[in-house]
Amino acid sequence: MHFTINGQSYQAEPDIRTSLLDLCREHLGLTGSKKGCDHGQCGACTMLVNGRRINSCLSLAVMHQDDEIVTIEGLGTPEDLHPLQSAFVRHDGYQCGYCTPGQICSAVGMLDEVRKGWPSHVTGDLDAPRFNDDEISERMSGNICRCAAYPNIVDAIREVAEADGTVDIALRQTVEAGA
């Protein structure tokens, strides 16, 4: 089978039982994505598949022929960090670091969902979604951090969302919706 991960081509013949997470961690040497529960309950394994965030432990590798997969390794390197990665460092949006790759991949996907105008559980007016700390917390609640860097994670994501235009786009959507 053929997989595109972080823009690179991989050939592999995974066992039909192998999750996308284990394909990366155990067979392709991409150990950045973490296994915290293997049941889709903690979010440590979050990857981007065709731009959307998913729990890679709940997805079989054989389902992903030719998909565009991005893991934490594809977002940036220690020498050339993605804006969210460097914001997490600046705001101490982690402690042990084990949930961190999943948090960051999740944040990338989440901000894209905001830009598309998707509402969340805490969105008051579905026609006029606002973007604020409550929205960040709610939308990031699929990613558990037992060290509990949550306030710092919110700070890091808010800073990036303000800098990359996500907040402006969300605001424009709110205005256009007549709120």
Partner: protein, 744 residues
Amino acid sequence: MFGFGKGDTNALTMNTAHPDSLLDTSAQDVIGKPLDRVDGPKKVSGQATYAAEYALDDVAYGYLVRATVGTGKITDLDASVARAMPGVIDVITDYATFLRNPQQGGETSAPTQGVEDVAYHGEIIAIVVAESYEAARDAAEQVKVTYAPGEGRYSFLAHREEAEKPSTQQIPPHHKQGDVDTAMAEAVHTIDVTYTTPSQNSAAMEPHASLAVWQDGALTLYGAYQMPASDKLQLAKSLGVSADKVRIVAAFVGGGFGSKLGIAPESVAAAIAAKRLGRPVKAVMARQQVFDATVRRSNTEQRMRLGADADGRLTAIGHETLVSNLPGEDFFEPAGVATHFLYEGENRLITHDIVRLDWMLAGSMRAPGEAVGLIALEGAIDELAEKIGIDPIELRRRNEPREDPEKKVPYSSRALIPCLERGAEKFGWAQRKPAGTDRRGDWLYGIGVASAARSNMLQKSAAKVSIDGQGKAHVETDMTDIGTGTYTILAQITAEILGLPLEDVIVHLGDTDAPPGAGSGGSWGAGSSGSSVYLACEALRGQIAKAMGVAEDAMTLKDGRVIADNRSVPLAELVGEGMEATGQIAPGKQEQLFNQASYGAHFAEVAVNVVTGEVRVKRMLGVFTAGRILNAKTARSQCLGGMTFGIGCALTEELVHDPRNGKIVNRDLGEYHVPVNADVPQLEVEFLQERDIHANPLHAKGLGEVGICGAAGAIGNALYNATGVRVRDYPLTLDKLLEGLPAV
């Protein structure tokens, strides 16, 4: 500190105060600063390597098999079907050697071994090894185990009358002073209430993992461990090999919170399998196995008695705790540990007794003792204040002791009242309303306060620091960074004392080939390990002064240069072929001569929905003192983490034991509810300036746990203030509130 040659050891036992600290006189100005973690870029880019991620050749995958009875004897283990499955290499067990349960932290002996007589549901009894993870996992389901079932004790309530006094350990289980019964009878105001807390799980994000590889009779184990120095001894004893044949590597650990202090069952299973197979074996616990077979915080039942005079001055404090543990395990949750010294009161009774149950092991979870003990003490103090009709902060002020009320020794440093006062001002305590009166729509609002206290401990710890020919410093110790910030603060201490830019310090941790460190636990890591690095750097300063030909106190080290005698010389030019020194700290008489503890004050605001009973934490502030703060950023994060553990402890976390067999019913993160992002508001943390010259040369005290101590109590007290309903059975779930809420 003159006369150090290459390879000297600078040892210090804290028998006397250490009033001077090089951290105050050095010039680099990095200590205490809110610097980014030095290991941060690796962590955010997936380049930090955790135990299960080392790329060794020819690794076989192990999957652990658990017992499915509460107690009983294994009469047959039929692995024929499992062995015949594709990809399976073997099904391995060694009933005598497998670990019955993990070891407690810091022990140098093997944990209880032997799994043929099952001691609790979920005990690890065998390991399936296969060419792939999937093959091992599936085969593990096909191992057929037959048991002769045993009689078990699975209900705390049914067996609480059989509680026994634990054998005396570091913490005395019983303390009696004066006569609490008589003082209670004579007191003007009394409180006599019982608080209960459930079993809890640390639930670190990285499951326990061991990758074992043998070479020439020596074992290297890449493991998820907090205390490699003692874990290595535990592992060697368990396997019957000498300690010099065991190496543990734990460079990155995905959280611990006590659950990785001692070795756990997967380590010995992986080591035995790797030896039999002659190839590396990786054994990672499934999340459910972490819940089943590592360690829990014990449930507690705490009878809390307070007696006070007309002015609210305490005359009696009774804190009698029942906990649970497996037969043969002496650890008890020391719920009364802070009650010994937090408040004045002449008559005191603080006891702990163990109810023997056939449940999984009880051991350390973040702030063993205070984390749940302060729920009872601080709840009862709040109740007493309400009864007397005075402000809870004023009640604490009236009971502020001048010295340790039991040991009659001074406090090394103590700023509880300043923390309470600062917090009150910052949080808006003066706006607090009478209980149950602040209703806004469907929500009742309330605020609460609780004191935080956590004993400070120093552990023996060693580190080697060397300076290479480029003028870069290398720190080596088997100390760990489990998210605590050790890599960063050790780099800051070294950079400060040796006058180096932070990037010129390289810290190597978590490898038992390096000098033995204190390990991460009990909030002692920074003080202990940091002091060993301090001492090594102090010795290096002596070597540098000698090479420069000046007196040490006439020399300034800054930005990689040595400045003295109207000369400024690059450090790299002075070190020759390199310099090195080892620092070693050990606890001494200062522990007995002074009561040492970190303090704080928690303030919480909660909202309770009158229709559903749902509780939301709206605001939370922690004001803390812990001596010198080594890194304001990582220190704050430690407190955020502790406070959030407090939110979980107060509102959601509860391990449920099946009363029929002791099985953990909610054995995953979907059913055991740790706080998620939406449960936690933007918490605030503030530190008050403090130095503690009795603690260590850094003048720093422990910080990793004080953030949880009292946090749940503050939420409980806020919940009472919101609703007028006092719930003493934690966690404070909505079902316990509904009856007392106003009619909709």
